[in-house]
């Protein structure tokens, strides 16, 4: 009787849920996954009300009784268990017995009828939240392209939840047949474009960081296929194989990012990504723990990356670059460079566009000509 599931498949599915259920503990059911057996398949879902994820795996089902279980505990059990199969039996009063190998667990679930609905049009309508305004578009794109776009923008999203309009990645059409994603925390900005034949959309959507992270995990799960991301009113939705992700879009207006991308810079400094990355990592050993400042000093033929800590010491490293003109120095938060260089593959070149020590720097790379990174300097 009950439910018999392949352990590996269940573990993979539960792993996908962990990011969503992780944080909230005040509402117990949001820490649970919903398990719904339907003749031969088990549907597993989790939601934090903003983002929802649902996947289906093959299972031997004896009945169609839904259960909920604490997502973390169930994941730990399945991960630590032995044997190829996991057996779940619903007992009375929402208790569930779990058997794998020779181990047996009893866990208390919650009433599955109280499990919240995934973010969806109908759910939002029932809350009176659905409105006619908002975007409408369907983005068909290679999953590797979408993954790259997310990787090159998501790190620039503001961690400050109060700046809600910066708390996600802005997505809009880039001319006919193209898509653009932009993220900024107010200090630096990432922008990347890709081809997306047939994509068009009025206005743009701010996709929440967390939802995008979950979506990114789903993209990782299987090979290079095209995926379809639907944007509809205040929702974004993607289905990939047996897995669906849905999320509420961030309400608010994304700032006018075009105005802050310099049209041109006075100096264009070409440097190996690896050399710059290493030099910045080394220099930041002595940069201030709070501000992470490093100094780039440009002189004829060289760029010196340095940092000073009054308490600890100082570091500097000179890189050979093709620079001519009047010497100057500019300060940056080292993390803003580490993060962007971290998403550019080793072996590539980057070009640093600098004007003076108070103007934004621009980083581009031959690894991705459609990627632009703008970073504001720090006062030294």
């Amino acid at each position: 009787m009950g439910l018999v599931i392949d352990r590996a498949a269940l573990q993979t599915a539960l792993a996908l849920m962990q990011g969503i259920v992780e944080r909230r503990t005040t509402v117990p059911i949001l820490g649970h996954v919903l398990l719904e057996p339907v003749s031969g398949t088990l549907s597993i879902s989790a939601t934090d009300l903003e983002v929802g994820i649902r996947t289906e795996i093959v299972a031997r089902t004896a009945n169609e009784k839904s259960i909920t279980l604490n997502a973390r505990k169930l994941f730990e059990i399945v991960r630590e268990a032995e044997g190829d199969e996991v057996k779940l039996d619903a007992l009375d009063n929402d208790w569930v017995e779990i058997k794998c190998g020779r181990a047996k667990f009893k866990m208390m679930g919650l009433d599955s009828r109280s499990f919240p609905a995934m973010p969806s049009q109908s759910a939002m309508k029932s809350e009176g939240l659905a409105s006619k305004k908002g975007v409408k578009g369907e983005l068909g794109i290679a999953s590797t392209d979408l993954a790259e776009m997310i990787d090159r923008t998501i790190f620039s999203v503001s961690p400050d939840e109060a700046r809600y309009n910066l708390s996600g990645v802005y997505l809009e059409a880039a001319g006919p047949g193209g898509v653009r994603m932009v993220a900024t925390d107010g200090h630096r900005l990432s922008m990347v474009e890709r081809e997306a034949p047939g994509f068009g959309m009025q206005g743009g959507a701010i996709i929440p960081r967390k939802g995008l992270q979950e979506l990114r995990k789903v993209l990782d799960q299987s090979g290079d296929q095209d995926v379809k991301l639907s944007l509809d009113g205040q929702l974004a939705y993607m289905k990939r194989g047996a897995t669906e992700v849905s999320m509420r879009l961030v309400e608010g207006e994304f700032p006018d990012y075009r105005g802050v991308i310099p049209k041109q810079s006075r100096h264009a400094i070409k440097v190996d990504r690896d050399a710059l990355f290493s030099a910045i990592k080394r220099a930041s050993i002595f940069s201030n723990e709070r501000y992470h400042g490093v100094k780039l000093s440009l002189a004829s033929g060289s760029m010196t990356v340095s940092s000073t800590s009054p308490e600890m010491g100082e570091a500097s490293e000179a890189l050979d670059v093709d620079f001519t003109g009047e010497e100057f120095s500019i300060g940056f938060n080292a993390n803003y460079f580490r993060e962007v260089l971290g998403v550019i593959a080793s072996g590539n070149k980057v070009e640093l566009g600098l004007t003076d020590d108070v103007s934004p720097g621009v980083l581009r790379t031959d690894a991705d000509p459609k990627f632009t990174y703008v970073v504001m300097p720090m006062r030294l």
Partner: protein, 420 residues
């Protein structure tokens, strides 16, 4: 290592090692440094107008009774053969920075009090610099090697004692006193040498039969508390050589200020007064930028031309807190001008000054040192920053007076300018 270690009781004799370094006749010495022909002559630096005061006098001039802050007119009477020099603040600032570097090379904790004196915390430097007296010798030597000027140094376990020692040691002196000698040393000193004992307190102490620090130390603590409140306890402790005030590194200095006494008293609403404030605001902005400091509070100080006797005049101060910490002269000037507009006084103004308080390290300035992409006023502020930078560069090259904003012209109206 063993040869460097201090004697076993070093810790009790030197719970802290605090040096007070004070340049000897700083401005006058700089003049002699730049013009060696003046060596050995009574050199007097000061304003030349009727109201000018002596800002510095060489030891040769001091023999004639010439002192700092003395009206130049009086100095001329005392020392007619004196070489009177108008003073070059830019050059003094330049040398001051060199001296400061010498201080910094000896201790990481340096608290400048003005252009020519500072406290240095030498606690824990024994291994590198040796015993306190050796450290002080190194300090004197470094200053001389770097700047060509002589500094007097006092070393003690408290700031107050260090300062008194450097003063007593001048010129070219060095006095060192450990904790065990401190109270005996202080006892015979007149009580007004203690910090915070001003004219009024002194009169009341004298009434109570307290004339020396020793008298104060022996005085009943309860009576002191009754007479002076909580400060009474502080005085008592100080008299016993207890003064826990730490040396506070540079960036935590409390304020920057500039003020000038006018050649003739100015009207409250006069353009000249506004010009002076602009000059001071811009100068403070330049210094803040040079030190990577931002200030949150701007203070306007006015001395009214209404004599109260004993050379004293009523002083008005008004302050305002800025929305964002600033190092911009224009912002500081605007705030000071706004404060000025709110002052109502019938008297003319004898002295005007601008100060900034609530300082933040540059990196912490304007909320943070990280410039923003979208800051509302960012575009404007960036332009201002660029302008300030350009102005700083010109000032550094051609002198502060080479380029000043429209109205600013402090020197014309203000012969004596004090920088704090």
């Amino acid at each position: 290592m063993a040869s460097r270690s201090l004697s076993p009781d070093a810790d009790s004799r030197w719970p802290r090692v605090i040096a007070h370094a004070d340049m000897d006749a700083f401005y006058a010495s700089v003049e002699i440094l730049d013009n060696p022909a003046l060596a050995g002559l009574p050199v007097i630096v000061g304003g030349r107008s009727a109201r000018g005061v002596v800002t510095s006098a060489s030891y040769e001039a001091r023999k004639f009774g010439v002192r700092s802050a003395m009206p130049t007119v009086q100095a001329r009477k005392l020392c007619p053969q004196g070489v009177f020099v108008p003073g070059r603040m830019k050059r003094y600032l330049e040398i001051s920075r060199i001296v400061r570097r010498a201080f910094d090379s000896v201790s990481p904790v340096v608290e400048p009090l003005s252009l020519d004196e500072a406290f240095l915390d030498l606690t824990g430097t024994a291994r590198v610099l040796g015993a306190p007296i050796e450290a002080a010798r190194i300090l004197k030597r470094r200053v001389f090697e770097e700047s060509g000027l002589v500094v007097s140094v006092g070393v003690a376990t408290t700031k107050m004692a260090a300062k008194i020692l450097s003063d007593l040691s001048k010129p070219d002196g060095l006095l060192v006193l450990d904790q065990s000698q401190l109270e005996d040393f202080l006892a015979p000193l007149p009580v007004e040498r203690l910090w915070g004992v001003g004219r009024v307190t002194l009169a009341r102490m004298n009434q109570a039969g307290i004339r020396t620090v020793g008298d104060l130390a022996r005085h009943d603590l309860g009576e002191l508390r009754e007479a002076f409140g909580s400060v009474g306890e502080r005085f008592h402790q100080m008299a016993h050589g207890i003064d826990p005030r730490p040396v506070v590194a540079d960036w935590r200095r409390k304020s920057y200020g500039e003020e000038s006494t006018f050649a003739r008293d100015l009207e409250l609403g006069s353009d000249e007064l506004r010009r002076v404030l602009i000059a001071h605001g811009e100068a403070i902005g330049r210094r803040l930028r040079a030190d990577s400091i931002h200030a949150r509070t701007v203070v306007l100080k006015l001395k009214l031309a209404r004599p109260l006797g004993h050379g004293r005049y009523p002083v008005l101060t008004r302050s305002v807190t800025l929305d964002n910490p600033s190092d911009d002269g224009r912002t500081i000037t605007d705030a000071a001008t706004l404060l000025l507009a709110k002052v109502t006084a019938r008297d003319r103004i004898r002295l005007a000054g601008v100060q900034v308080h609530n300082l933040e390290r540059g990196e912490g300035g304007r909320a943070d040192a990280q410039l923003g992409l979208f800051d509302g006023a960012a575009a404007g502020e960036d332009r201002r920053e660029r302008l300030n930078r350009a102005l700083d560069a010109v000032a550094a090259r051609f002198g502060e007076e080479a380029l000043t904003r429209g109205l600013a012209k402090a020197e014309r109206a203000a012969p004596t300018r004090r920088i704090k």
